[in-house]
Symmetry: C2
Subunit: 474 residues, 2 copies
């Protein structure tokens, strides 16, 4: 069972003529089966499924454009779908309509090792990409916990553990192909590393959560696999000692590739789920990339800072399989957390603040959470000032849901008050809509609504997401 | 004397009531004097001055908003103005109107050393910024040749010699305050290092060339001053040997901070203008940042690659004053080039291509230029695939201007054909408008025009720039 949601929108009428046209064009790649619709109306958020009226499995840009044209003509919602790993309700069909499954478009179209770029279809997942390019000596660093699709990651401006060194999807998408609401195709960006030519349409689509266009091709930056990699675990007596260390590391400009925080409960959950035996106190996971000498130098500098803050000596994960085990465990922290309270549902939040506010923001949040009647974990990509709270709720107890949402609200407000953002990497979806006005102001929201109306005048693309309904009425 | 321009637009009517209102509000900070208007209707492009009807010197966001409201009411053009260092005609008042001089808004509002950020007014110049923050141990790396304002650099998505390591204005602007055409104020972005909250309005304004809003405040990322810096000069027998070396350095992932190419003529001009005695053959200027050990390691790896390509042993510039002299000379390359042909005017171009195409693009361009009747130099930020051609024209010989523009056109088309862009860092302004359709396609241009109409329905903000007139009629 999962949590319901009060919505201000209604399902739209989907004419039979539209369904007939799609059925005739797509044959077995069109479905109204309950199980298929359920799969496409569900994600990793705690919300109840909301089913699309039908699902189309596209295999080409032209097919996506055909579906867009048809939906636009009939003013029927169209929701791009990857692997459904959203935590914020991005793919739920709150107004019904057509789910456009892009997982069949999963070809790596062109690797350009000389340019350190690759062009992929949107259904390629991040792990698939890295497996297929391994021989080139290059890799793609962006790694949200889930094995998400590159299309979905572009649409939510995803990041992950490597962002502190390599940036987010914002910095790593060079060019796109996008199907617009009316079926027109645009190709923003170029394969050059920089450009001053025209408005930055690429960055408009990156993070637009399927509301401005359907991403059908992505050109990404790649990076040489580091000559040397080492990973280390450092335990701290307190949460604040760990966070203070991170602040000093960033301020020193030490180019750590990863620096991840886990609180004691996240460590316990990870030990149980991933069969590790990490010391159960707040800890930082580090990874260092570079030449052997520079990796050693970075590690020594970081160890010194950690020690000054009461951190223990590093435990090293030197071998590739040890590192892989460690990072896989980190990526499974979400599923591990769920096991802290069997039968629970998770409500996750994700804020990002300036690093000078990180300690205060984490500590105030932890103090509030300590009063709550449910277990929680805190973990995060703290090198960016980004952390997550996972609250484990009894699905049969509405008061827990309400309390979690009050905590979520205070956390988002705290982050915004500290000149941060209500979401560092999960996106707005349904869950964070209520904070858009506070974060961006009335005028900022009006600009976003104007943008939406220009790009999608019939509001067919993933309607009901990101923008508050009232901003769309202006 | 400088070059005229055929324009498809006309000067607009500026009502006396508007001028009276501005005169009454701004007193001595309002001017219709010929000399003031000439200064504000001129930049470093080869075009003839085009004068605004009046100039207002703003000292606050509220004043900028007042001027915008008034201009919008009367549908009068409004052109933000910094130091006028554009090379592409950005500030020319092609439709007349009001030039809004922002150089009086030159305060550094807040340095946040803990967060590695700074918030500045738009009239702060890059050198002023670095001088004022020197004590903090931080620096701002983006350095177009001119001592441009941060507002102008944001508006043109500027970069420079450090972009290969630190990115461009696209990557380094965290947040903005912007006055919209109707005087409303928006504050896109946050002080967090990353965000997935809503459309990326910040990136829409960065590079919008004053056509979407007036940037009145900018929050930038800063970087710790490197522990060690070294600079080296490496001469090569041929242009292609130098460019091939750069390609290999980038592909190896060596984190050079700067790698600048100068052809033989650029070296000669720089020697004469800046009183240096660089060896007069194609050369690369390198700078390495990091710890002492990592700087040495980078330099050794680069020297090996250069040597394999026929490069000479490095000449080192170890002392800060030697480095400063070298980079000042590099930044003065534009003025140095002008001296190659006394009395000439310069037509500069600026393209950026994927690094795998850089050698071909530079060589084809040089071969064409060798046939031209005027001198030229080639130099560039080749680590990004970005290079400039400077053609030195006889202002009294229209056929030279025509030939330079034909060369410019073929170069832009070549760069776009190679999946690059017609401008890596100078922007579109007036000079590159004709390439917008080829680079972005009809649908991409239509989206940009839609964006412009949404943000500035009366087309008062820097009209006639960036977007072809016909795209605005749709």
């Amino acid at each position: 069972m999962s949590i319901g949601l009060e919505l201000s929108c209604e399902r739209r009428f989907v004419p039979q003529a539209l369904l007939d046209a799609l059925a005739s064009r797509f044959g077995s790649r069109f479905s109204v089966a309950q199980s298929v619709r359920e799969h496409h109306g569900t994600d990793e958020s705690p919300y109840q499924p909301m089913l699309p009226d039908a699902v189309v499995f596209a295999e080409s840009t032209e097919e996506a454009a055909y579906v867009a044209r048809l939906c636009n003509e009939h003013k029927v919602p169209l929701i791009p779908f990857g692997v459904g790993s959203s935590l914020e309700g991005h793919v739920l069909a709150v107004e019904g309509g057509i789910s456009l499954d892009l997982t069949g478009m999963n070809a790596i179209l062109k690797v350009n090792p000389e340019d350190l770029t690759v062009t992929v279809q949107p259904g390629v997942t991040r792990k698939q990409l890295n497996e297929e390019i391994r021989d080139t000596g290059l890799f793609f660093p962006i790694d949200p916990g889930a094995d998400a699709t590159i299309g979905g990651m572009s649409a939510t401006r995803a990041s992950g553990t490597n962002a502190v060194r390599y940036g987010t999807m914002r910095e790593n998408v060079l060019a796109l192909e996008v199907v617009m609401a009316d079926g027109r195709i645009v190709r923003p960006g170029s394969h050059a590393r920089k450009s001053s030519s025209g408005y930055d349409l690429t960055r408009i689509f990156v993070g637009s959560e399927g509301t401005l266009g359907i991403i059908t091709e992505i050109t990404l930056r790649l990076y040489p696999q580091p000559e040397a990699i080492s990973a280390a675990i450092c335990n701290f007596p307190t949460l604040s000692a760990a966070v203070e260390s991170v602040i000093q590391i960033i301020q020193m400009g030490i180019p750590v590739a990863r620096v991840e925080f886990m609180d004691e409960w996240a460590v316990k959950a990870t030990n149980a789920y991933s069969k590790l035996n990490l010391r159960e106190s707040p800890l930082l996971l580090f990874e260092f990339h570079g030449s052997p000498a520079s990796v050693q130098e970075q590690a020594e500098a970081v160890q010194d800072i950690a020690r000054d803050n009461g951190g223990r000596d590093f435990d090293w994960a030197m071998l590739p399989e040890e590192r892989s085990k460690l990072w896989t465990a980190r990526h499974h922290a979400y599923f591990a957390g769920l096991q802290l309270r069997p039968g629970s549902v998770a409500s996750t939040t994700d804020v990002c603040v300036p690093i000078s506010c990180l300690a205060d923001c984490v500590l105030e949040t932890a103090q509030e959470l300590d009063q709550a009647p449910f277990p929680y974990t805190i973990l995060g990509h703290v090198g960016d000032g980004n952390f997550h709270v996972m609250m484990l709720l009894d699905p049969d107890n509405p008061s827990e849901w309400e309390e979690s949402q009050a905590l979520n609200r205070r956390l988002a407000e705290r982050a915004i008050r500290m000149q941060g953002t209500c979401t560092g990497e999960h996106g707005i979806g349904l869950h964070k809509i209520e904070f858009m006005q506070l974060e961006h102001g009335e005028n900022g929201l009006a600009l976003m609504a104007g943008l939406k109306k220009t790009f999608d005048p019939n509001n067919i693309l993933n309607p009901g997401k990101m923008l508050p309904a009232k901003s769309m009425q202006g």
